[in-house]
């Protein structure tokens, strides 16, 4: 069967082909079960793993004599260290011989509100004030400022490097093709893998933490900037060129202004990515809220870690809303033409900045404005509340949750995992390639075949299959939630307003905060890992589906209503099919987010690749294996992304609504 044949077949035959593949798989599985399954014990290494470990040792031993380290990395480290220390001196650390930072709490609140007001609007400015004051009320002002300082520094450096690179990638196809796989790699490689080596290169301190954060935060800045530059209509650029603009003028006067709104989206994504690294960076001594979370985990102190997690969520929501508002404002300004009433705007800016300056001055000079007053201690209530809730849930819900766990594990996960892990590797190779051929064509099939072969070569075949099984089960659950809740809040604005902050919290609350409660509810099992992944990934899927449902033309819905369709019919026959593009996109994104949680899963009983990565981080001899496991996760991600992207392209072609 060739791709050409598959492509010419009418669409309805695809499901039959897939069923055929599945049937053949099961039949061959029964025949060859348990052969060529390539198992590897927990402490066992393949020669490849040993070699990777040795390679790491070589770097280790030559660090002091190698000129690249002596000059290049050391200066990079010095620069970043100085930069971060400077930002910390401004807002979070006693500095310049003073017992407090240069700018105290009142000044920080004033500055943040001023920025929100000038780039966003009054609503987000008020939100900013409320959010920042709540850090103090939770009793976490200093920790929050440490986190903010590190995040700001990492974001600024990411943007300083990422936006120019993104512009380059936007203008130059070859560079874009070159950089895209590197960015994919940076985003899917688990941080645990490179955390320990980073401290060898950049030492223990702000530089390592910042670089770790940047590796994860810079890809969206580059990607989205490139995308933004490419989006600028060709005609506009050509018009500019025909008027005799130089390439530089075209960039500065035509492309960048038109791309500005999308670039702001990139800034937003960069900030969110940086914030998601707060807890992980704390593993190498990054100061701030992440440390509070990790410390609390040592004593299983759910309340304290929830309190700190809440501060991270609040920070994420504030920064997200402010940058989103800034993006909308750029858009509005563009639509309205040149900035209107410049004088009035200038007076506003001047006044706002003056007030902020006064607040900064006060907080620099007076103790009451420098140190957050400690009397209003909301934190202890939050801590007690979270503790009580977690305790209650673990005591009273265990029977139910344990039943759910067993149902899904025995009913779905175990059979699926058995088929994957007990099949000979060549059978899985054949099945994956055939499936990719049917649903996505010959190129994707080739990519998948190479990926499966790489998994075999990495020596972690069986672990990869266990992780793949859990990943797919988690994605199914994510999509079930995504469609049900997405349709609900996509149709009901009031529900959306209530649910959306919960979704934001799910996305930004560090997993380390809810590890203990979910461990209490589900035990140290693969299912617990799946739950952690669902908590993190479902919000994205829900939001995308909801956006898709909203994008369905009202005319279509009204026509269906007029024709006497019931609500259920409208949803199932009109809205969901028309939002198909959004649903496949949600599946793709959901999958990426699930994969990002593989390592966290390794901390709660998932075993397999996640555990391999964690052990590589903790045991010297297992370093090579951990790295190989990280690579295996990247390979799994590449394979699954190739398939979902092909599905998206198909979905978009077929779907009448291409809104997403």
């Amino acid at each position: 069967m060739t791709a050409a044949v598959a492509a010419r077949r009418p669409v309805w035959s695809r499901p039959y082909l897939l069923v055929g593949i599945l049937a053949a798989w099961i039949a061959l599985w029964i025949a060859f079960r348990g052969q060529a399954t390539l198992p590897l014990d927990g402490a066992e290494l393949t020669p490849l793993h040993a070699r990777i470990g040795e390679a790491a040792d070589v770097v280790d031993n030559n660090r002091d004599s190698n000129p690249i380290f002596l000059y290049f990395f050391n200066y990079v480290r010095l620069f970043i260290d100085e930069f971060v220390t400077f930002v910390q001196a401004l807002i979070s650390r006693p500095s310049f011989g003073r017992p407090v930072p240069v700018v105290g709490w009142l000044g920080v609140v004033g500055l943040a509100a001023a920025v929100a007001l000038l780039y966003g609007n009054l609503r987000v400015a008020l939100l900013t004030v409320a959010g920042f004051v709540s850090f103090g009320l939770l009793g976490l002002w200093e920790e929050s400022m440490d986190t903010l300082a590190l995040t700001l520094a990492a974001v600024l450096l990411s943007l300083a490097a990422g936006i120019p690179l993104g512009i380059w990638a936007g203008l130059n196809d070859r560079f874009d093709r070159l950089v895209t796989p590197v960015l994919d790699f940076m985003q899917t490689m688990p941080t645990f893998v490179y955390l320990a080596p980073l401290t060898l290169v950049f030492l223990i301190g702000p530089a390592s933490a910042t670089v770790a954060t940047m590796i994860y935060a810079i890809p969206p800045a580059i990607r989205i900037t490139s995308h933004a530059i490419r989006q600028v209509p060709k005609e506009t650029v050509e018009a500019g060129a025909s008027l005799g603009s130089t390439p530089w003028q075209l960039l500065a006067k035509v492309r960048l202004p038109l791309a500005k709104r999308t670039i702001v989206v990139g800034v937003n994504q960069t900030i969110m990515a940086a914030l998601s690294m707060v807890t992980i960076a704390a593993l190498i001594d990054a100061p701030g809220l992440g440390k509070t979370v990790l410390k609390a985990l040592e004593t299983l102190d759910v309340g304290t870690s929830f309190n700190a997690g809440l501060a991270i969520v609040i920070m994420a929501i504030v920064l997200d809303r402010v940058t989103s508002a800034a993006g909308r404002r750029v858009e509005d300004a563009r639509r309205a033409g040149r900035a209107h009433r410049p004088l009035r705007r200038r007076i506003q800016v001047g006044a706002v900045l003056a007030v902020a300056a006064v607040l900064v001055y006060l907080s620099h000079v007076y103790v009451w404005a420098a140190e957050f007053p400690g009397e209003a201690d909301v934190g202890s209530f939050v801590r007690k509340g979270a503790d009580a809730a977690s305790q209650w849930a673990q005591t009273n819900l265990f029977a139910t949750t344990n039943g759910l766990k067993n149902l899904i594990t025995y009913g779905l996960l175990n059979p699926f995992e058995a088929v994957l892990t007990d099949s000979p590797w060549w059978l899985v190779l054949a099945v994956v390639t055939a499936t990719a051929l049917v649903v996505a064509g010959v190129r994707v099939a080739a990519v998948c075949a190479v990926c499966v072969a790489l998994l075999v070569a990495l020596g972690l075949w069986q672990d990869s299959m266990v992780t793949l099984a859990a990943t797919l089960v988690a994605t199914v659950l994510v999509m079930a939630l995504g469609i049900v809740i997405g349709v609900w809040i996509g149709r009901d604005d009031r529900a959306d307003r209530v649910i959306r902050p919960v979704l934001d919290a799910g996305q930004t609350m560090p997993a380390f905060v809810y590890l203990v409660p979910i461990l209490g509810l589900f035990g140290a099992t693969r299912f617990t890992a799946i739950i952690a992944a669902v908590v993190y990934a479902a919000p994205v899927a829900i939001k995308l589906v909801a956006d898709g449902i909203r994008g369905v033309s009202t005319a279509a819905v009204e026509a269906a209503t007029a024709a006497g369709s019931s609500t259920w019919q409208i949803i199932s026959r009109v809205q969901v099919p028309m939002a198909r593009g959004a649903v496949t996109l949600a599946a793709g994104q959901g999958l990426c987010y699930v994969l990002a949680m593989v390592v966290v899963g390794g901390l709660v009983g998932a075993g397999a690749l996640g555990y391999d990565v964690v052990s590589g981080f903790s045991q010297l001899q297992l370093r090579g294996k951990g790295l190989a496991a990280g690579l295996a996760i990247v390979v799994l991600g590449t394979m699954l992304a190739a398939i979902t992207k092909a599905l998206q392209r198909r979905g978009v072609r077929k779907s009448p609504v291409t809104g997403v």
Partner: protein
């Protein structure tokens, strides 16, 4: 500043802020209060900076808290605590960013690499704490099935420990991969009908035992002493075939219990050669498991900060502290 001309909602914010400014230009100034000046006693400046690694468990933190407290109060050192996992902390000896690790569990591989090969670290003797590693069951099980503490009877109870993860065998739960475990080899070599399930973190292990005791659910898993959780639930150790010198020489063939661990302290070569009084303190530091458990309890159960917990213990044990201080 005239802002009243701008008739927009923003005015409200400005007015509020100006009002705040007008009413609040009073109060203590930064740098005026006595607490603002440095706290170190100028007479004891000889110590300088000390970088203590803080490995992520409470017992370690108890050691570090007490050492840091004494170093700061008695010797006038500036102690910087760095929260690091073990492997990264050892790397810190090589990069010069860690001076001391004050509770080390074995780690012969790291000793070989950093002490023998790179020669950037040296051993400075025992902390006085005895580490025990082994298989534990919750107390209710030891009470109900008294013979479960003998490994020979484990197979009899394997069915109790079945779980969704153990594929029909009894589940033996392992925790944080930082800890050396021979459990897979042990199960194999003792021919037990069990499967090792890797929970992946200490939190998973403790939550498991906590739930097992509270809900009277069967559980057997890898655990260790001294550990703060044992004060909450007194887990009972299962006796594996007794440890004899060298019975664990071949990791693949281990069929005996874990050796008793003499927990020790490791410092960087640089720090040892510096002649800092803090080095003498670290070298002399030794206390009992009970001492550590007490401070660990202050931190974990009573939720005291590490500093307060150390202060409380130091003030109650002046004689022990005195013995650690450098002589002369």
């Amino acid at each position: 500043m005239r802002v009243s001309r701008i008739a927009r909602p923003r005015t409200a914010v400005l007015v509020a802020a100006v009002g705040l400014l007008a009413s609040a230009c009073a109060g203590a100034k930064v740098g005026e209060s006595p607490s603002a000046s440095g706290t170190a006693d100028p007479a004891k400046k000889a110590c300088g900076a000390v970088n203590l690694a803080i490995n992520p468990w409470v017992g370690y933190e108890a050691n570090a808290a007490v050492i840091a407290y004494v170093a700061e109060k008695e010797l006038g050192c500036q102690v910087t605590k760095k929260d690091l996992k073990e492997e990264v902390a050892w790397q810190g000896f090589a990069t010069g960013e860690v001076d001391a690790i004050v509770e080390n569990w074995g780690h012969d591989d790291l000793k070989k690499k950093y002490i023998e090969q790179q020669q950037v670290a040296v051993e400075t003797g025992s902390t006085g704490n005895k580490g025990v590693i082994g298989w534990y069951v919750p107390p209710w099980m030891a009470e109900k099935y008294p013979d479960i503490t003998d490994w020979k009877n484990l197979d009899k109870y394997a069915d109790l420990f079945k779980s969704s993860e153990s594929g029909g065998k009894g589940q033996l739960l392992d925790g944080d991969p930082s800890f050396v475990t021979n459990d897979a080899a042990l199960v194999k070599n003792l021919k037990l009908n069990y499967k090792v399930v890797y929970a992946g973190s200490e939190a998973a292990l403790i939550t498991g035992f906590r739930q097992a005791e509270a809900q009277k659910k069967p559980m057997i898993g890898y655990f260790y002493e001294p550990q703060w959780f044992l004060a909450e639930v007194k887990l009972v150790k299962v006796n594996l075939p007794a440890y004899t010198e060298g019975c664990d020489a071949d990791a693949a063939k281990v069929a005996c219990d874990y050796p008793p661990y003499e927990l020790d302290k490791i410092v960087s070569k640089k720090f040892a050669d510096s002649g800092s009084p803090a080095y003498q303190l670290v070298k002399n530091f030794t206390w009992t498991n009970d001492d550590q458990n007490l401070v660990a309890k202050y931190i974990s159960e009573d939720k005291m900060s590490a500093e307060d917990a150390a202060k409380k213990w130091v003030e109650a044990n002046p004689d022990k502290v005195k013995a650690w201080l450098p002589t002369g």
